[in-house]
């Protein structure tokens, strides 16, 4: 039955796994809604970007090889992140230019790997996630998803079908929020300036909630918004689309 019910492996991503499990459950729910059978291979940790972008090629290769192994045999691999999805789909192969066998497996994995929302729309043909949200949202385009994987219209298409939701476009939506993985802690002053520009743009939309498809960016924006005392809430777009908004927004506590 794998023709009609594709076998999808969820690449949870390390940040979702540790900081925002609800995004993982939202991804599973959406994938099942799209007619997929979802598994979560146990032998996954991180896509390897912290090592890759820090110039540590040996550790990157080891982590990539382990990921390639863990995700073999699935029809698709889906990540609720354009950044991690982009790492697997666009960068794994180049790591193994000295190892044709692994390079071939990396290429095969790359062809099966997708960012969650673009997978739902482009591969599974989803046009309506059957969700409702009473409020005004704005959407930030995370860099890797946008520029490496072409994630742009897909989240907007699904959001426009959410009952009760109004989307106010974010000025400068395609400009980086200043997260950049380890960048934000290595160059905190510059990062702060960038995220400050971003949160000012977010406030200007009048939205009650800002959404994006990558938890790194979301935690950065949420951390800045809450530090500045903003009332704007922050959520992963999958939470809205899956209707999983019982969990407090990112950076908000049970006390609020």
């Amino acid at each position: 039955m794998s023709e009609s019910r594709p076998q999808v492996a969820l690449f949870v991503t390390c940040l979702v796994d540790l900081f925002r499990p609800v995004v993982g459950f939202a991804a599973v729910a959406l994938l099942e809604r799209a007619g997929c059978t979802v598994s979560v291979p146990a032998a996954q940790t991180c896509c390897g970007q912290p090592a890759f972008n820090s110039g540590d090629r040996a550790d990157t290769k080891a982590i990539a090889a382990q990921t390639i192994e863990a995700f073999e045999g699935y029809d698709y691999v889906v990540a609720p992140s354009g950044s991690c999805g982009g790492m697997i789909a666009k960068h794994y192969e180049e790591l193994f230019d000295d190892d044709p066998a692994l390079a071939a497996r990396a290429r095969d994995l790359a062809g099966r790997t997708h960012e969650l929302i673009s997978f739902l729309v482009d591969v599974r043909g989803m046009t309506d996630a059957a969700a409702a949200y009473d409020g005004v949202v704005t959407y930030h385009d995370s860099c890797s998803g946008l520029r490496e994987l072409g994630v742009k219209q897909q989240p907007r298409a699904l959001l426009s079908a959410v009952e009760g939701l109004q989307l106010n476009e974010l000025p400068g939506a395609e400009i980086c929020c200043g997260f950049g993985g380890t960048f934000c802690v290595k160059y905190p002053d510059i990062s702060n300036n960038m995220v400050g520009d971003k949160t000012a743009d977010i406030e200007s939309t009048g939205a009650d909630t800002v959404l994006a498809g990558d938890l790194g960016c979301l935690m950065n924006m949420a951390g800045k918004l809450s530090r500045d005392g903003s009332k704007v809430r922050v959520r992963h777009v999958a939470e809205i689309l899956a209707g999983m908004t019982d969990e407090p927004p990112i950076g908000a506590g049970t006390a609020e």
Binding site: A9, L18, A42, A62, I63, C143, I190, R227
Partner: protein, 477 residues
């Protein structure tokens, strides 16, 4: 030019605290960025043109020895001279000798980043020759004793009010009560001041956007016409250019010109595009008596055949810095050497070494906007990553950073141990942070919590919860 790249972090902090600089930088998104996007959208074949431009440069770089020699032969044929300068010092010496041959006192200069790279102005002054910058932006920063902070808009960091102040101070022979409020007044005054200098100059020095092997021509593009006056009025025209400026044919140059103006300023073509071929011929009404080309290597040939060769495709349009959010935050001077922005983050470690230049390729979020707009499709993030690998291999990054990465990688390479350790850690954080949902400060997280709260995890990890609910771990058979 002396580098302050090793002090990048301090430079950046100072730039962020500089309100006039911040005001100047905030205009970039609404200017350059919007104009480039509109120009690209108006030309249906723009993306195809980028492919073509990339291919022309790749072909040229693969056969650069052939095209440079062909260029030299054509320049000679037209009665000009070509000088090969392996280093900045060689280039300065050659230029000085040419200037001395006519006992030059004043030299006018068109805008040239190569002249910046070889520190030509300071060298001239040390040798009793007065250099006069004739590009308005360059003229302004010369008066202010500054260096360019952008490769096509050298005075982008200066507000017009500051220019007025500088002009009042520098042009002390003019009426101190005159109004310099309007940009037009500033322009008119600079033009009037420069007019006599053009006529007095003994030598005119320009850069070159392209060198054409087919014809032996050097090409400059300007919007002010200053380059034309610089290269046609004095007795001698010296074009100083780096090796990779060569292209095979006129046709190739036109492809690149169409990309250059659109990518740089959003113009379809610059106001002036001038081709210089040899000195004045007997039938010419004007032009220099001597035409010299100084070809600078200064480390470029050692980039050929390496991971950084693709950076030599650069045509210096500045689009990468116009679109870079890091450049937009700190401006060009913070980068600490001649070339700022993403291309500078690749060229600087190439030229001054990875130890001094190590911050530049690291200070990027890899947002990819530079590569997305680069007319020559230079994979800038990939090249910055290449330097990060060198920094890592040579252990040039702080020990704490490398230790942290090593510790993380130790766990990330051992999934079972990773699940156990992260489960423990996240459980602890969740208990501590559950009520407020975030941390204002946390040990070892100062880089983050200095400016931002850290959102707290809410409970058990996804993996723990998935196991607890008996979620599927392997594909359906």
């Amino acid at each position: 030019m002396k580098s302050t790249s090793p002090q990048f972090k301090e430079n950046a902090r100072a730039a962020l605290a500089n309100d006039t600089l911040q005001a100047a930088l905030n205009k970039m998104e609404s200017g350059f960025v919007v104009n480039r996007a509109a120009a690209a959208a108006r030309l249906p074949e723009f993306e195809a043109l980028r492919d073509q431009g990339r291919d022309i440069k790749n072909h040229t770089l693969d056969h650069i020895d052939f095209y440079l020699e062909a260029f030299e032969a054509k320049v000679r044929e037209a009665g000009g001279h070509v000088h090969w300068a392996a280093t900045a010092e060689d280039a300065r010496r050659i230029i000085l000798e040419i200037c001395r041959s006519v006992d030059a006192k004043t030299v006018t200069k068109g805008k040239s980043m190569i002249a910046e790279e070889i520190g030509l102005n300071d060298f001239f002054e040390a040798n009793d020759i007065q250099p006069v910058e004739t590009d308005l932006g360059e003229y302004i920063i010369q008066l202010r004793n500054e260096t360019p902070s952008h490769i096509i808009a050298p005075a982008i960091h200066v507000l017009k009010e500051e220019v007025a102040e500088t002009f009042h101070e520098a042009h002390s022979h003019l009426d101190p009560a005159r109004s310099l409020e309007e940009p037009r007044a500033l322009l008119d005054e600079a033009r009037a001041e420069l007019r006599q200098k053009f006529i007095d100059a003994d030598v005119g020095i320009t850069g070159a956007n392209f060198l054409i092997a087919e014809t032996g021509s050097s090409v400059i593009v300007t919007n002010e016409g200053n380059g034309d006056l610089t290269q046609t009025l004095p007795k001698i025209h010296i074009a100083v250019a780096s090796l990779e400026k060569v292209v095979p044919t006129l046709e190739d140059a036109t492809v690149l010109l169409r990309l250059l103006a659109r990518s740089a300023t959003g113009q379809e073509f610059s106001s002036y595009t001038t081709f210089s071929t040899g000195p004045r011929r007997p039938e010419d009404p004007d032009g220099p008596e001597q035409y010299h080309v100084v070809l600078l290597d200064n480390g470029r040939s050692s980039m050929l055949g390496t991971e950084t060769q693709e950076a030599l495709r650069c045509i210096r349009c500045g689009a990468c810095m116009n679109h870079c959010p890091v450049y937009g935050s700190i401006g060009g001077h913070a980068y600490g050497w001649v070339y700022p922005g993403p291309i500078g983050s690749v060229l600087t470690p190439s030229f001054i070494g990875v130890e001094d230049g190590r911050h530049l390729p690291n200070a990027s979020t890899f947002c990819g906007r530079c590569e997305a707009v680069c007319p020559m499709r230079i994979p800038l993030p990939k090249m910055m990553r290449h330097f990060r690998e060198q920094v890592f291999e040579q252990k040039l990054s702080p020990a704490t950073e490398r230790m942290g990465l090593g510790l993380w990688a130790f766990f990330a390479r051992r999934p079972a141990l990773y699940r156990w350790a992260t489960g423990l850690g996240i459980g602890l954080l969740a208990v501590l942070g559950r009520r407020r949902g975030r941390f204002r400060a946390l040990p070892f997280a100062g880089g983050w919590t200095q400016y931002r709260d850290l959102p707290a995890p809410h409970g058990k990890s996804f993996q723990q919860q998935w196991t607890a609910k008996g979620g599927r771990r392997a594909r359906e058979k």
